[in-house]
């Protein structure tokens, strides 16, 4: 194929840009802190409240940080308010008892789909302050009302 010189230069430049993009993603993939929530664990959506993994909802303090166990349902999260330690790793474990929901902590990279039958899990940290949590996947007529609150408290 006869490719004009300028276009050749352009094509090489495009390839270099793509390699740079891909490498930056690959570096993030190698550094384990930057993973999207890709936990693989299933649960019977009809028996969530009876399941030992979700029988107790709320915040549990752990040695290094905290774990938040929450359930999404039309059109609320349970619990609707959580307090977590600022600056420490907080692990979220979520599932849904009805349709697919989203769980987005506004202004952070805390963001996951919450799919019935599956357990979503991710870990992130917070600067001290109050955060709005919203459902970001359409879940029915009350979708725009589905929210919760997270308070990250500075700890000594």
């Amino acid at each position: 194929m006869n490719v004009p010189l300028y276009e050749k230069i352009w094509m090489w430049a495009a390839a270099v840009i793509i390699v740079v993009f891909a490498l930056s993603v690959a570096v993030g993939y190698g550094a384990s802190a930057l993973q999207p929530p890709s936990h693989v664990e299933t649960i019977d959506p009809a028996k969530v409240f009876g399941d030992p993994r979700f029988a107790q909802r709320g915040v549990t303090m752990t040695a290094g940080g905290a774990t938040v166990v929450a359930v999404a349902m039309m059109f609320t999260f349970q619990p609707a308010e959580v307090r977590v330690p600022a600056g420490k790793p907080v692990t979220f474990r979520l599932t849904s008892i009805d349709v697919t929901h989203g769980f987005e902590i506004v202004g952070t990279n805390g963001n996951t789909m919450v799919v019935p039958g599956y357990v979503s899990q991710f870990t992130t940290r917070f600067a001290p302050g109050e955060y709005l949590i919203v459902c970001n996947e359409y879940c029915g007529g009350g979708h725009h009302l589905m929210s919760a609150k997270l308070i990250a408290e500075a700890t000594p």
Partner: protein, 540 residues
């Protein structure tokens, strides 16, 4: 009117009708998100209207327009009738029946599941059956296109297909590969479940099948627009196509890279291991390449046009271009908006960056630049070119046609700018309003939702101009002898014999192999897992 043009015209009529209805709904949604209390505003109406807008625009307008355009390309470039006209007409009526069924279910409020229809939200069975018929109807188009090409090839062994047909052949093959996913989701999972034949459904399996289809769907929309950019636009601009073989390469790259990337829509999903998401992210990055090449080739073609008209400086060729011609200005703006949308797409595809924008208003801002501008504005622009030629009438209401692309550009600039920003600030997409009981964090989005609403008004005005011009031309355009459709000539003569880039069977096999690499193992692993199904929910 030529008898052979009745079929594409019938497809265009459905496409333009769907576009008009969906545009009106879009404006009401933009106003609703800005918390304007319009009459009839309610959550039920809002989510019904989002569903109708998404389905009518993304699935009905695009599919019917592409099918109509495809028939024009195959019959005019090969200068022969369709090999299977009965099959083609059957496809049209099947797709139209499906559209009517699905539209009936949506407009009666029994299918407010949005155009992604994620279970366990459950629509009326008519919605899923309608979707199946629309897909089957479109398969008739794919088959007709391929069979007509093969009939021509038998008489012209070793001759490459004209570039426009090359693009539409790739589109037809890509569509067959892509729709396998949604057809299985629809026929095996959704229809039996909505009829009550199966009690539960696995929502993650449905999502994997949907997004197997959902990303090549994007290129099903985009490739016909690229056909316009490569084979009609350079001529409208008054010049020549800069490179024919690079155009062929671009379409083949899309054929092999479009499908094995669906997990980049599911980065935030549970149940899919990180490694597979990473692989899909890596493949996605390379889809940028054919679009980078296109940006150069088409811009160079515009420069050729400007220089043929006497431009000599670095940039004065831009001023020599026919900015008052609505076909030219539509496509030029479509490409400009697509450049911005494409860069946003690289961000969405970036594995971990995606967590900042996933399912926020950023996403709707992104795809209104891509499908909503690169594709829709190109289709509007090429309608001004094609309809008069097919109907044998003059374009009416020329002033409205001339301002329409400019209104779209302004409207989309306002809409997408404001939604990109509110998305970065965390405002979710698909919400009737975003006030969250007076939350101070949500209050920061308020001004920009107003800007977005103003953009929506401009876009509606633009869509209204387009529909009026089409109606005026179709019903009252002055009759005249139909002008020919003129395809852009390449700067350098086309190869006389087929090359590797014209081996469609070979590239289809390559595409299927890459799809198997990307999907076979994760799907197999998924089916080995103990999963729990969900019953249907209808919270609308």
């Amino acid at each position: 009117m030529n008898r052979a043009d009745r079929l594409p015209l019938a497809n265009f009529a459905v496409a333009i009708t769907a576009f008009g209805i969906a545009s009106a709904m879009a404006m009401m949604q933009a106003l609703s998100r800005a918390s304007l209390d319009l009459p009839f505003r309610s959550p039920k109406m809002y989510y019904l209207s989002v569903t109708a807008h998404g389905v009518l625009m993304a699935l009905v307008f695009t599919t019917f327009f592409i099918v109509g355009f495809g028939y024009v390309v195959v019959t005019r470039t090969l200068n022969r009738p369709l090999a299977t006209p009965r099959l083609a007409w059957t496809g049209f009526w099947v797709a139209l029946t499906g559209t009517a069924l699905a539209a009936g279910a949506i407009l009666s409020g029994q299918a407010s599941v949005l155009y992604t229809f994620y279970p366990p939200l459950q629509a009326h069975p008519a919605f899923y059956i309608g979707a199946a018929l629309l897909i089957v109807g479109s398969w008739c188009w794919s088959a007709t296109t391929i069979l007509t090409y093969r009939a021509w090839r038998r008489e012209h062994p070793g001759v490459p297909a004209p570039l426009a047909l090359h693009g539409m052949l790739v589109t037809a093959i890509l569509w067959l590969i892509a729709t396998v996913g949604v057809a299985i989701e629809d026929l095996v999972l959704l229809i039996p479940w909505s009829l009550g034949l199966t009690k539960t459904i696995d929502p993650m399996l449905a999502r994997m099948l949907f997004w197997y289809f959902g990303h090549p769907l994007v290129y099903f929309w985009l490739l016909p627009a690229y056909v316009v950019w490569y084979t009609i636009f350079p001529r409208v601009a008054g010049g020549k196509l800069f490179s024919d073989p690079l155009g062929r390469l671009v379409f083949i790259l899309f054929l092999i890279l479009s499908t094995p990337v669906g997990f980049h829509h599911e980065f935030m999903d549970p149940g899919i291991p990180a490694g597979w998401k990473f692989l899909h992210s890596m493949i996605t990055m390379w889809i940028l390449f054919p679009s980078f090449v296109t940006a150069f080739t088409i811009t160079a073609s515009m420069e050729v046009a400007g220089r043929l008209k006497g431009a000599t400086g670095w940039l004065d060729w831009l001023g020599k271009l026919p900015w008052r011609d609505p076909t030219f200005s539509s496509v030029a703006f479509a490409m400009l908006l697509f450049a911005i949308g494409g860069i946003g797409g690289a961000i969405n595809a970036s594995y971990m960056l995606n967590s900042v924008v996933h399912n926020t208003a950023w996403i709707q801002a992104h795809f209104h630049l891509t499908v909503g501008s690169a594709v829709a504005l190109t289709f509007m622009g090429v309608s001004y070119y094609l309809l008069p030629r097919l109907l044998g009438r003059e374009l009416e209401l020329g002033l409205l046609a001339r301002v329409q692309p400019y209104l779209w550009f302004i409207g989309m600039a306002l809409f997408s700018f404001s939604n990109h920003i509110t998305g970065l600030m965390g405002m979710p997409r698909r919400v009737m309003e975003a006030t969250y009981g007076g939350s101070p964090i949500a209050a920061q989005w308020k001004v920009l939702t107003g800007v977005s609403a103003v953009g929506g008004l401009f876009l509606f005005a633009s869509a209204g101009c387009f529909v009026l011009v089409m109606l005026g031309t179709w019903l009252a355009g002055k009759r005249r002898d139909p002008q020919p459709i003129e395809w852009a000539e390449p700067l350098h003569p086309v190869a006389a014999r087929t090359t590797l880039l014209d081996r469609y069977g070979l590239w289809t096999i390559v595409a299927i192999v890459i799809v198997l690499i990307a999907y076979a193992v994760p799907l197999w692993q998924h089916l080995q897992m103990t999963t729990y199904g969900s019953p249907g929910f209808k919270p609308f």
